[in-house]
Symmetry: C2
Subunit: 105 residues, 2 copies
């Protein structure tokens, strides 16, 4: 009989969601962005300068993060300020921990 994680609807769905999340954060610049924003919210111009990244590329990665719900943005004059959605991060962290945290001593 096949193991749960290969057949059980809920298990397969959880794994899929987890993989989606992992794909988002397994990009170096995006993980750095999350790091940066953990301290406090920042405008795009700060982010791309901290990362030494092209402005448009930074915008692209921010869009990926935002589309997935990991960050939010608000306009402030000319600038757009991004911040982390901590609740969402926590949600996916929990999902992920099902796969990583069950390795006892």
């Amino acid at each position: 009989m096949k193991p749960k994680c290969c057949v059980d609807k809920k298990s397969v769905a959880n794994l899929s969601q987890t993989v989606e999340f992992l794909k988002i954060i397994s990009e170096e610049n995006r993980l750095k962005i999350l790091c940066l924003l953990r301290e406090n919210e920042k405008c795009v111009c700060d982010i791309w300068q901290y990362l030494n990244l092209a402005q448009n590329l930074t915008s692209h990665h921010l869009k990926v993060l935002k589309d997935f719900g990991l960050v939010s943005s608000r306009q402030e004059g000319l600038k757009v300020i991004y911040s982390v959605n901590k609740k969402v991060i926590k949600k996916y962290s929990k999902l992920l921990n099902n796969y990583l945290n069950s390795y006892g001593e």
Copy 2:
């Protein structure tokens, strides 16, 4: 001044390692393999049948996991038995948690 995670040698190195790990496990079939092997060690033929995956593709993913140290293998007759290296998983889990677990309530 640039934030730690963008300049501090150790921070940057940790982030890089974390990203490498994430790239490995952010592939659906590989995460499934880790799930399967968490229960108990399995031969390749069991794995590819559980996953409905081509034999050679399964071998490929196992090689990726093995090269990174997440799994080990031993020969047993015709079969090759793979098992999870729990310690390694734990090591990278901890690294990863630096980025995900610091989002308080």
